[in-house]
Point group: C2
């Protein structure tokens, strides 16, 4: 695949374009095979058949059963269902009210646990991370108490790229009889995703992060896991998620996941090489710059940086003017630059943490684009520093 | 538009095919203009621009402000947000805990109020309906008490087609300072939808009911209405609904809504005429048959019937074998036919209420198809009656 025009898109962790092969697979399911999967007539049954074939494709990739996959309208919705659904289910049987998570979760997880704590009386522990953003499984083990119902840890962090020790955390949760959920939204096409190897009970994915359509997510739910529905209505998805099933979105997700997995080794190798060129080049050419997140245990497409005394958003704007799309991890509140909570949790001093720069590679990127980015970036940072 | 193949689709209240004009409008927003609307770079801003143009199209049709429209992943989600969101918001300020609704709501409404009652301690009143499924605004007025926070009434019923006196109910709610929500999912293209004329504070729509895509809904939220988010995460949609916005879905909904409104008068007239031919023909040709729902105050495309001692699902199967897609309103629990709750609420005796037959017309249907249905149906009902 080439670039979309002469611009360079380095924001594949924010979203990706739908792969033409995925779009082609989805096309029949809008105007031709359009039935409601709950309808008993032939139009409905055609749609239901396509839905179950999509589910089978996904089950093959994840190594799970058909009945363990619930289609949702987004990765955010999948995280919400996993956390709120297990919390409410536990409460309804008087099972416990304590949730363990980390300070570096996506807002879909952190704001959901915040709401459970502030509005519904749950107790939430955020275990610390080290300076690379790594969670220590032993610390999670120590945080588990008799009231703990759920541990939620992001598998690959969106802001700093760090990949967590899933197998070890999963083993501890299994031994202690606590559910283990992961937001794995950044992972497809980058790492293997076999749910049994990781011991996860719940896992959220989002199609648009791996060249599938927006509005399409899924939650893996290990059999016999109790969840209260958080979206109520019809009995779609075995009562786990009400609302007419979006068959095109499910087919798109399945096709995109199959492609991401099939091309994972080769594409990961290609992206990792470009990522390392970016990291080495930037640390070498930009004074007082540092890599954020783990130097080795990180997503293959993900490079993130902090620059002393520079706001990330200013760099993003400077790059945008040069036709390069990147993102900042900073949380800007009403125009005021505030240090990123993730960088803060890793102990990065505030003067470094005013906003990271995130460059996330993907199928469209080439080595030439990486070279052009390396040419342009040092001057942009320099001009911002001179200006202020 | 012609039929999709030689089959006849009479289930437009379950779902509709995406109109080719809608699909064409959506196409650029998967692989070309694919940015995340929250991204500050040019890819993101192109997507954000398309989203706001879609919002403007919708605001024009509904007669509301841009800021009053929240895109959701389905009509079900919009109903959930309206009801659960206002209930939680009211509770968090100690405002009241009583909800008024009807016994003929879609499950997206009825199961949400059930959950609020059973799990969260809210109190729910279901006001009665008359034998045509009509709600009496005076009865709603009498049910409003000091603890009442919300009235939720389906505008056009999906099972029996009855249209409620929205203006009067809205006026009462306004006078009494109670929020008024309506599930208007069946209405676009059939009745006008100006939110100010109806005095609604909240209104749920679903694109796939009017030739838009599945996975695309919206909630109209009158300014200054307090809602707690029910899907938590990023600050999309002004904090009302987390999750990367599905721009293609929003563009699809806007295009479909504009078309439905522009073609409403002509198409409604065409469908009403075919609907009346169906109603007259069936009541005349099938012994011991009756219309369910209101004979006049009903959705223009909607014909629904009960047949003495016959299960609706059997008729649906018989029609399907003849290539005609219809639906039954019956709630079948574990293979056992149970009377429809909606028909029960209207006082229909159980021997009549084992399942209605619903025939809902749409753009693809022709008078020939109506004639063919009228030819086939009497024999099917007769064979089922003879068999049992």
């Amino acid at each position: 695949m080439s670039t979309y025009d002469d611009r360079i898109y380095l924001d594949h962790s924010a979203t990706t374009p739908v792969d033409p092969r995925v779009l082609r697979a989805m096309l029949p399911y809008w105007s031709d095979v359009f039935g409601n999967t709950e309808s008993s007539h032939s139009f409905g049954q055609e749609a239901a058949g396509a839905l179950e074939r999509a589910r089978q494709t996904i089950a093959d990739v994840l190594g799970c059963r058909l009945s363990e996959i619930v289609f949702t309208g987004s990765g955010t919705e999948a995280d919400n269902l996993a956390i709120r659904g297990t919390a409410w289910a536990a409460r309804s049987v008087g099972h416990g009210n304590h949730i363990i998570t980390t300070p570096i979760e996506h807002h879909a997880v952190s704001h959901t646990t915040d709401q459970l704590r502030d509005r519904f009386g749950f107790s939430v522990t955020r275990v610390p991370v080290d300076r690379h953003g790594l969670v220590d499984p032993q610390v999670i083990s120590e945080a588990i108490g008799p009231e703990t119902i759920l541990v939620s840890v992001v598998m690959g962090n969106n802001e700093i790229g760090t990949v967590q020790p899933m197998v070890q955390i999963g083993r501890i949760c299994r031994e202690r009889g606590v559910l283990f959920h992961t937001d794995a939204v950044q992972v497809p096409g980058r790492l293997p995703l076999k749910v049994d190897e990781m011991n996860v009970d719940l896992m959220a994915l989002s199609a648009h992060k791996f060249y599938g359509p927006k509005g399409s997510g899924l939650l893996y739910i290990r059999r016999d896991t109790r969840l209260e529905p958080v979206m109520t209505g019809g009995e779609h998805e075995r009562g786990h998620r009400a609302g007419t099933v979006n068959v095109a979105a499910a087919v798109g997700l399945a096709t995109a996941l199959r492609l991401a997995e099939d091309e994972r080794r080769d594409e990961s190798r290609r992206l990792r090489s470009m990522r390392d060129t970016l990291i080495e080049g930037i640390l070498e050419r930009v004074p007082e710059s540092r890599l954020t997140g783990h130097p080795k245990l990180r997503l293959t497409h993900h490079a993130s940086f902090a620059f002393l005394g520079v706001e990330g958003e200013s760099i993003v704007q400077g790059l945008d003017l040069k036709g390069i799309a990147a993102s900042s991890g900073a949380a800007c509140a009403e125009g005021e630059a505030e240090p990123s909570l993730v960088l803060k949790a890793m102990g990065l001093p505030a003067k470094w943490g005013l906003g990271s720069l995130r460059l996330t590679l993907g199928r469209s990127n080439t080595e030439d684009e990486v070279a052009r980015t390396l040419e342009v970036l040092p001057g942009i940072v320099d001009r911002i520093r001179t200006r202020t």
